[in-house]
């Protein structure tokens, strides 16, 4: 039953996204344009005489960072944005009164956006490869494992932000955190080693730093699971703490919702 509902949620939200055609197209276009940006940034760097970053081209480095940042953006934003939209439209209440578990009704509307995120990332990697990103050394098995562990820790940020939206009924600080702090300190666009040591402390407090490092290790240098094991362990540790905490926050939010009954009244 839940599988059937998930499928219904995905198709339905695909239809909704497709109904806004211009938005739909610009998302894919934007993904391709960012590949161009990375490409020319790399050209600039090469002209300056700099060649390799972390054992590969800067272009490859950026493509991986860009793809990962898409996950960052989605994890912090997808659940809360879709939930807010449903609340504004007044469609969340009819959904909550169906024979669907509350958690699925609240988070399910993001299913398509998350799936599309994976698609967009694959497209970026594909286009990137076509114009010269080098994944010839990649250890794909390690990469997929790193990605899975990273996503489970990323998703907890999304669950936190959904809980925030339910309780406070407005945009959440998680978005700001991800968009400003995470981008600069986790090594999306440049290696964190460039940061002065005292700022690098922030980097090491973020799970994304480990995720990106392991991901680049696997994709650029073909590192094995054993070689990225340390990063994986740290990531697993973040997940072990963040995921239960975020689920707890969501449970609290749902309880709050049932006490106040204020979801449609935005």
């Amino acid at each position: 039953m839940t599988a059937a509902k998930l499928l219904a949620l995905i198709t339905h939200n695909f239809r909704l996204a497709w109904a806004y055609k211009l938005n739909f197209v610009t998302r894919y276009l934007g993904m391709i344009i960012s590949v161009l940006l990375f490409f020319f940034l790399d050209q600039l760097l090469q002209r300056g005489g700099a060649g390799q970053v972390e054992g590969g081209t800067y272009f490859t480095f950026l493509i991986i960072g860009g793809a990962f940042s898409k996950f960052l953006e989605l994890s912090s934003h997808a659940f809360s944005a879709n939930l807010r939209e449903e609340m504004l439209q007044g469609t969340i209440e009819p959904l909550l009164v169906t024979a669907t578990p509350v958690t699925l009704a609240l988070l399910g509307p993001s299913s398509w956006m998350l799936l599309e995120g994976v698609l967009l990332v694959l497209i970026q990697l594909g286009v990137g490869t076509a114009v010269g990103a080098d994944f010839s050394q990649a250890n794909w098995g390690t990469a997929v494992l790193v990605l899975l562990v990273s996503l489970s820790s990323l998703i907890s940020y999304g669950i936190f932000s959904a809980a925030f939206v339910i309780v406070f009924k407005r945009g959440d600080p998680m978005n700001w955190f991800i968009n400003s702090v995470a981008y600069v300190f986790s090594g999306v666009f440049f290696p964190v080693e460039l940061l002065p040591a005292w700022l690098r402390i922030i980097s090491y407090a973020l799970p994304f730093t480990y995720a990106l490092r392991a991901l680049r290790g696997a994709l650029m240098r073909g590192e094995t699971i054993a070689e990225v094991g340390g990063d994986l362990l740290v990531l697993g540790g973040f997940t072990a703490v963040l995921l239960p905490l975020s689920l707890f926050a969501l449970r609290y939010a749902i309880r709050h919702l049932k006490q106040t009954g204020e979801l449609a009244h935005y």
Partner: protein, 334 residues
Amino acid sequence: MTEIIKATNLSKTYQSRGKAVTAVSHINFSVNQGELFGLFGPNGAGKSTIVRMLTTLLAPTGGTATVNGFDVVRQEMQVRASIGLVTADERSFYGRLTARQNLQFYAAMQNVPRGQIPQRIGEVLALFGLSHKADAATQSLSTGQKQRLNIARALIHNPPILFLDEPTKSMDVQTSDFVKALIRDELVNQQGKTVVFISHELYEMENFCDRVIILANGTVQAVGTPAELGALLPRRALFRLVVEGNPAALAQGWQALDGVESVTEISRGATQTTFDIALADERVWFAVLAVIEGGNGRLESYHRADDESLRRIVAHFSGGELTAENAEDAEKKR
């Protein structure tokens, strides 16, 4: 008779910015299977709060309730599978999607088997006269059409119980009559569904509901058929009459009678005067007539000016008609 809905000491106190607001207080009532049950009361009486607890959207702060035999707190999924809810919020559709696409989604979320969805959508759209709008974007529908689609959505999984929270709010009279006839004839009489109908309009319930519960300030004031509720009342009456004779003397004579609550002069012509007389018991009317005869007056015409409607019943049970002032009071209390 099966009690398909049962509320026992059901209570709800909201915590709103540190203040406790008791919206529903120790309510007891039950609804029989196949009944068209009316929930009536002035604004803020607690009607929506009761329905939101019965539909699992709100957690009660006291008491219990069962719907279709399931506890609204411990068996919320079973409750939701048994019910449809319609609220007055007619915006609540995905505006860019068609009526059919909207219904497809809710059908799936209500566990309607895939194979049956198209047929079921066809049925509910036809029932509410919306077949020709099946492939129109819902944002292009009129308010009344959306409200009908709203009821169609609540019926998509063919639930035995339907909750309607002011469903006719934005419908014109014809549409509202059409929808009410559908509810009465098709859903209740034909299909045997149980319907809980909320309204703060009296005329909506009088020749429509089997039984009505009257709420005020979160408590039950009375329950019964509209006729039973009427019988509970003292036989108060209001007459408007036009008389010839000395107005001052007549008024004085009437006011001296036992059971005359008030005498109001409405207008005075050259020979005739119009009065409103409120009586505690309609039988006092004969004494009123005797005063006219005794004073050498002449009764030109008269009629009963009160309406024998639920309005009086409510005024009786909720301690006064809802006037502009006490409506304002009620607002302030929130």
